[in-house]
Amino acid sequence: MSSRLATAPSPTGSARPAGRRGLLGTVLGKQPIGSAFVAPYLVFLAAIFAYPLAFAVYMSFHDYFFTAPGAIVDRPFVGFDNYVTVLSDPAVRRSFLNVGIFLVINVPLTVILSLVLAYGLNSAIRWRTFFRVSYYVPYVAASVAVVGVWLFLFNENGLVNTVLGPLAPSPSWLVNSKLAMPTIAIYVTWKQLGFFILLYLAALQNVSKDLYEAASMDGAGRIKSFWNVTVPGVRPATTLVVLLATVTGANLFTEPYLLTGGGGPNGASASPVLVMYQKGIEQGNPDIGSAIGVLLVIGVLLLALIERRFVSKEDR
């Protein structure tokens, strides 16, 4: 709108070029060079996100296999065959169950711990910068590096079991089919927490101080005012934390691959992305792998919708 207003009433004498500019302006915008500036980014998005997304869906409905570059082969449409294969495969079903276990532990733990620590940090306290930095360190360190030290800490004869002594689980954490997935869930919670603490710290700054004062005048203690003022005050951030933690969890690959030696013991900690890699690339069935990926994304979207409903419903 504003572009038309700015160019249409042109000064006398230069009516023609100004008129043309005005027309172009309405079609292309006031600064059409902007299109050129975003063009590389747009090409990138199309090539790396849009096309592969469509390609994944295409593969999942066809009998797709690897060929030499340039080879022309027939890849027939097979309808839902790949999906049927995937859904009737116990390994795939197990991996979706595993990610469910992961999310049930990881998401609530992430929300509670990051909110409590952010709440603690959100005050004039000694060593504030030190605390903030130390919480963020696991998040910026490479997972491959950190997995190394967790293996050292949590193996059969590691420090954790040494400290626990007779309380150490047997079989040990990462080779125990009941504990492998929960251990990974706790590892990821620990690793990502710093990022979520920062999200909550930002949200806490938007909670009005007056509300705390009002609460304390009503005689609310610290715990009560945390529950009645802080928790509702940061609800939008909680929605974001829940959604991001869910997406991160659904993307789980490095941890089961390295911590439990490829989703062991016996598939008890395999994630859908790990199975997708094994079936799609290791075993050379990209169509099956894509079907797993599409199902995973649909699952995540459904879960995200439910979570959003659930978290913001408490508002009323």
């Binding site: 079609v27 130390s134 490479a142 491959v144 990926g293």
Partner: protein, 274 residues
């Protein structure tokens, strides 16, 4: 005296977060792995640099670090050139389709990248033959959308008069961007570099899929291969793995500590806006 519960909780948290890193360093210097509680403290008799020599022999740290550096550097370069252009256009230029590009930028951040790994693998490795190449490694990460978003936010905060004045003077948009806008958003550029850095430096799945040649693997990939295959045969596997882990983690952690102010403010900003 009142017990400072808040402080104690925070201190406990800091211990839980930092101890594994301390333990990583100690473990990387032990001649004999010592999983007892005593082993968590440095013992002069049990200290050695041998693990670093061992891991260097196995995966050639220099080459791996160089590969990580090229991979990360390529992504930072792409983001700094094309990301800044896109961020500037989204904030300051009116052109057809701006709203669509902006929505796409936000949408991309919720697409789980792992879903794209199979089609990207088919495209990049099978169709374009870019396996075992830096280009293939960099391509899927070439422009960091979070950085584009940060650039946009910073450009948006500049006063409009500045741009009006430049336009009246007849400066081209590219000139305005280069001479006026960029010098004013230097902190944003640093933040953009930091945010972009940790992605490819720590990335594992993608370079793992496309590099089979050891002399092209970034450190995260060569270290994990050592972890899963070779380490069983080494004299002190944990020591060597932890030495490699220290080398891999150190640059990101050091950068973050040095520039923690920029890093935290950027996350805060995107958090508030998100």
């Amino acid at each position: 005296m009142k017990i400072p519960w808040r402080f104690i909780t925070l201190l406990l948290g800091a211990f839980v977060f930092l101890f594994p890193f301390y333990y990583m360093l100690i473990g990387s210097l032990q001649a004999e792995p010592d999983p007892t509680v005593r082993g968590a403290f440095p013992e002069p008799g049990n200290l050695t640099g041998e693990n670093y020599v061992e891991i260097d022999k196995a995966i050639s740290l220099g080459q791996s670090l160089l590969n990580s550096g090229i991979f990360t550097g390529g992504v930072i370069l792409g983001t700094m050139v094309f990301g800044v252009l896109a961020g500037y256009a989204l904030a300051r230029l009116q052109f057809r389709g701006r709203g669509v590009v902006f929505s796409l930028m936000l949408l991309v951040q919720v697409v789980p990248f792992q879903l794209l790994t199979i089609p990207l693998y088919v495209m990049i490795v099978r169709s374009y033959g870019l396996a075992d190449s830096y280009l293939g490694m960099i391509a899927p990460f070439a422009i960091n959308s979070v950085a584009v978003f940060i650039f946009r936010q910073y450009f948006l905060q500049l006063p409009q008069e500045l741009f009006d004045a430049a336009r009246i003077d007849g400066a081209s948009e590219l000139n305005t961007l280069w001479r006026i806008a960029i010098p004013l958003v230097r902190p944003a550029l640093l933040t953009g570099v930091l945010v972009t850095f940790i992605g490819p430096w720590n990335e594992f799945l993608w370079p793992f899929l496309i590099t089979k040649q050891q002399d092209l693997q970034p450190l995260a990939v060569s270290l994990s291969n050592y972890l899963t295959t070779v380490s069983a045969r080494a004299a002190n596997p944990f020591g060597a793995v932890l030495a490699g882990a220290c080398v891999l983690a150190a640059p990101a952690v050091a950068l973050f500590i040095a520039f923690q102010r920029q890093f935290i403010s950027s996350s805060l900003e995107s958090g508030v806006k998100g």
